[in-house]
Amino acid sequence: MTDTEESGDRTAHPWPPVERTPRVGAREKVTGAARYGADHAPPGLAYAIPVVATAGKGRITGLDTAEAAAVPGVLLILSHLDDLGIAPAGYVMADGYAFQSLQPLLDDRIAYRGQPIALVVADTLVAAVHAAGLVRAAYDEEPFAVELDAAGTETVLQEEALPLPFLADVVVGDADGAYERSPLRVDAVYETGPQHQVPMELIGGVAEWHGDTLVVHEGTQSAGALRGGLARQLGIDPDRVQVITPYVGGGFGQKNSLQPHLAPLAVAARRLGRPVKLVLPRAHTFHAASFRPVSRHRVRLGADRSGRLLAAIHEVDQQASRRDLLPATYTEITSRLYGISSFRGRQRHVRTDVQTPGYMRAPFEHPAAFALESALDELACAAGRDPVELRLSNDAGADPVTGKPFSSRHLAACLRRGAELFGWAERPPDPGSMRETDGTLVGWGVAAGAYPVMTVPVLARLRARADGRVLAEVGGHEMGQGITTALARAVAGDLGIGVDRVDVVVGDTRVVPHHLTAGAWGTNSTLLAVHAALLELRARLGVPREGPVDVAAAVAAAGRSAPEQDGAEVVAEALTKGPGQPPEAVDRMRAGLVAPAGPEYPGHVAFSFIAHFAEVRVAPAAPRVRVSRVVSVADCGRVASPVTAEAQVRGAVVWGIGAALSEHSEVDPRFGGFVNADLADYVIPVNADVGRIEVAFVGEPDFTLNPTGVKTLGEVALVGVAPAIANAVFHATGRRPRSLPIRVEDLL
């Protein structure tokens, strides 16, 4: 096995092009054969349903389970009254595994409405649901605060509360002085409300014990965190926990860590000696996992009269829970999208009585881009400049923060190509100047986005088989982003075999250790490991470092020359990690923990970029915004899998439509928690909301960054969609949206 330092062999490796290939696993998905966590149905299955707190904060003073326990078929009711023998798993961003540090059911404290207080297990689902509805709790309630401006919140400065170098406020030059001296200034506050990821797959799965080994079938983006976290919680060896998650029904950050239902589920399964299935009701998922917190952004931009940026100040307040602080990196992109010589960022956390907020697709970058890119549009108006032209004239050469070059930066190409595809040159500058005969206002808007390229440790194992097939066993997760397609294409392209000759296994801790698949690092990180493993495999097969390989013949030949191998297969492994990541990063990945820091590139910084162009229509009678057309052009380095990459961008545009126009988790300060906790009231786009979406890629491989030339896509694709829509709304109506979502009442 090669344990390669950093990103393995550093020579550029321009894989031979592979034709557009359909998504791996598509057949299983269109036939219903794909097995998600809760599809697992072992014999003897019992069913669990949680009971959740109705109080906003306080203590449980009484828990009456008698009526519930009397329901025929009820087997077990777990609560804090019981000693569950569960240790806390720790917060994922503080050396732990869970989405928050709080593990419910261990004591009588209630930290937020919706917190689980009991778990009912029964022979049948109807019995479990019935009984859960009969559990009664009494509370000693305490005052709570759930909104940013409420009395009783606590505001802390990030660089003091989380004193880590990469979380310090970004300060370059004297931004305040430069701002004061600027002839053109924009000073505005932007806000994005709380939102929920709502992947279609409900949270839940099956826990079963095979002897003293716990087997978990559950959709997750971090099988390693479930494995390591459950081992810690139950006090068992991690090797006695297996997590199987071949398909994940959407993650978007919601499933990036251990959730607190699993340890009690494992306890129930152990006590009963039966497998137990838990599928959380959709309403529970609004409190059972993380969400995108409220963030409020004050942005000040200073520019000369031509619109050349001289200073930017970006101050952010982000909602937090009482217990945990989600490290915020809003200013990481706002300090770098443009060549701004003086920048000052400040990030604060506002502690409230909620579950710990967390990661939701482009967690910081989407709100940050809404703030900055809206402000830039305001500046373009003030300067009388075309918004595309203004952005092009403020493009950055080197990284304004570190002075290092970008590994690659094609934002200008994204803007130019997008403008061309969109027909931007036809845009009249004045708001309200495009109107259809029925009075419908039409607006065109543009916005840019960026997202850092992160790389994490990954282990990949390739098995070349005597029948000429290759099996790739890779630590990672398929949430629909297309990672298995990209991996299959990479192996097939390298060896010159058909994609259908490659099998990919992800999401199975029995096979390899798993990295947390999030932050859009999954594909580039796993490709690096596969790239290194391919070189190792070629060495073991005794074939040249490049060129097509007759796998069956090479395996047979290797078997003849190395009789200790049985001739059935030749195996090669590689473990790669990001540049500058310490060796502990690998140990942490094996343990299911997130990397402590890095990657740290010695000679450059690395980001993906994107430009979005949106056309909106606002009808005069009911001024609800419709997005009729979007063009998105991404610079993500080499496009590892065109079919799935295009889908990622289209899907992100749909996300942006929801984020800009409808998604908002409603908070009632009298009750805490979230009120519109279902898919009727939490409004995500439907098919009829989506018009034409055109996607293009710059397509320039970034061989400065790594030998595969692949950067990152899944997150950057969303960054800038919402401000492009908001800017289009301004262009249509002359009204400047400064908070999301933009709903009909905002334009009446």
């Binding site: 009678a621 419709r626 409603e666 279902d678 009231d681 409004v683 909301d689 009442e745 009446l748």
Partner: protein, 334 residues
């Protein structure tokens, strides 16, 4: 969900008997899209359910008749929405169904059951800890002073401002629909306008049917205004959502565009399907144009009472009525 006994009688007569025998609290189950949904939330907890979905007496759609249109209460929303004659001659009725829910739900829900669809108020559906006079009489109303963006502007009171969520009944009430109702005491006819009641002091009472009565048929008198009609619905997304405001409007126009017959009802904004006689009076004899349409909309909302977050829907509602009148007027001229 609480346990319940289930019976599926074969005839209407058997169903009436089964309902009586099962006793008060028993619910009739048709498409199930409201009842089964609310049972899953423990909002509805009937000890017994009588399934009337497949009763032959409740089937049938007749939109060709000379005097009235008739819809069996058990007809599916999807089938009525797709009826070619209805689409041509009474687009408001067809559209009110086509713009409701999703095709899957319209394939399940019946046009009789849909009349009694219960409110989507999140505090009603959410259960504890929210007080709700409709769900738990006397407990209070969380929507008043709370998140009331979608709550009623018309017909509310101090006890409840829950919006009646249906579309079909709004269109029907504009066309003076009547219902045939059967129960152990025989059969009666009930104007749709007499079915739903405002919350008043008893928001848990939503309609005037006795617990043992079954709606068997919906009848709509024929009117020439049907062709010049529309159901206009404004939502937070393009489809598969409840109305922020809607309007069912039907007009006939005489010489010079003067309004002869006019029917206006609004939905998504009131505690029950809401006919707007003042809007109709405003238009009677007037030339239908942007100004008169706006005046009619304003008249419809003259008595509106806004809460904390829903005042915008007064203006939206006025515009929705005006827009519906514009569309209906164009159709009336065809």
């Amino acid at each position: 969900m609480r346990p319940y006994t289930y019976t599926a009688p074969a005839t209407l007569e058997e169903a009436v008997r089964a309902l009586s025998e099962a006793g008060p609290g028993t619910k009739v189950l048709a498409g199930g899209t409201t009842l089964f949904d609310l049972m899953k939330l423990d909002i509805e907890t009937p000890p017994a359910v009588v399934d009337i979905r497949a009763l032959p007496e409740l089937a049938g759609i007749d939109t060709a008749g000379p005097r009235e249109l008739t819809f069996g209460a058990g007809a599916l929303m999807a089938d009525v929405a797709a009826d070619p004659l209805l689409r041509r001659d009474y687009p408001a009725l067809a559209e009110s169904l086509a713009k409701a829910a999703s095709q899957q739900l319209r394939n399940m829900a019946t046009v009789g059951g849909n009349l009694l669809q219960r409110t989507r108020c999140t505090y009603f559906r959410g259960g504890p800890p929210f007080p709700c006079n409709k769900r738990l009489p006397g407990s209070g109303c969380a929507a008043i002073g709370g998140l009331d963006r979608g709550h009623a502007l018309l017909g509310g009171g101090d006890a409840c401002v829950a919006t009646y969520p249906g579309d079909w009944a709004v269109a029907l009430i504009a066309f003076d629909a009547v219902l045939d109702v059967t129960g152990p005491r025989g059969t009666r006819t009930l104007p749709l306008a007499g079915l739903h009641v405002e919350p008043g002091e008893r928001p848990d009472r939503e309609h005037t049917l006795a617990w043992d009565e079954i709606v068997t048929r919906i009848r709509v008198p024929v009117t020439a205004a049907g062709r010049g009609s529309t159901y206009h619905k404004v939502r937070d997304r393009e489809s598969y959502a409840f109305a922020l405001a809607s309007a069912a409007v039907a007009v006939t126009l005489g010489e010079g565009g003067a309004v002869e017959e006019c029917r206006v009802a609004v939905g998504g904004v009131a505690t029950r399907p809401w006919r707007c006689p003042s809007a109709e009076e405003e238009l009677a004899g007037a030339v239908l144009d942007r100004r008169s349409a706006r005046r009619a909309g304003a008249a419809a909302f003259a008595g509106a009472r806004a809460g904390t977050h829903n005042a915008f829907r007064i203006e939206l509602g006025i515009r929705t009525v005006a827009e519906a009148l514009r569309i209906a007027g164009e159709r009336a001229l065809r």
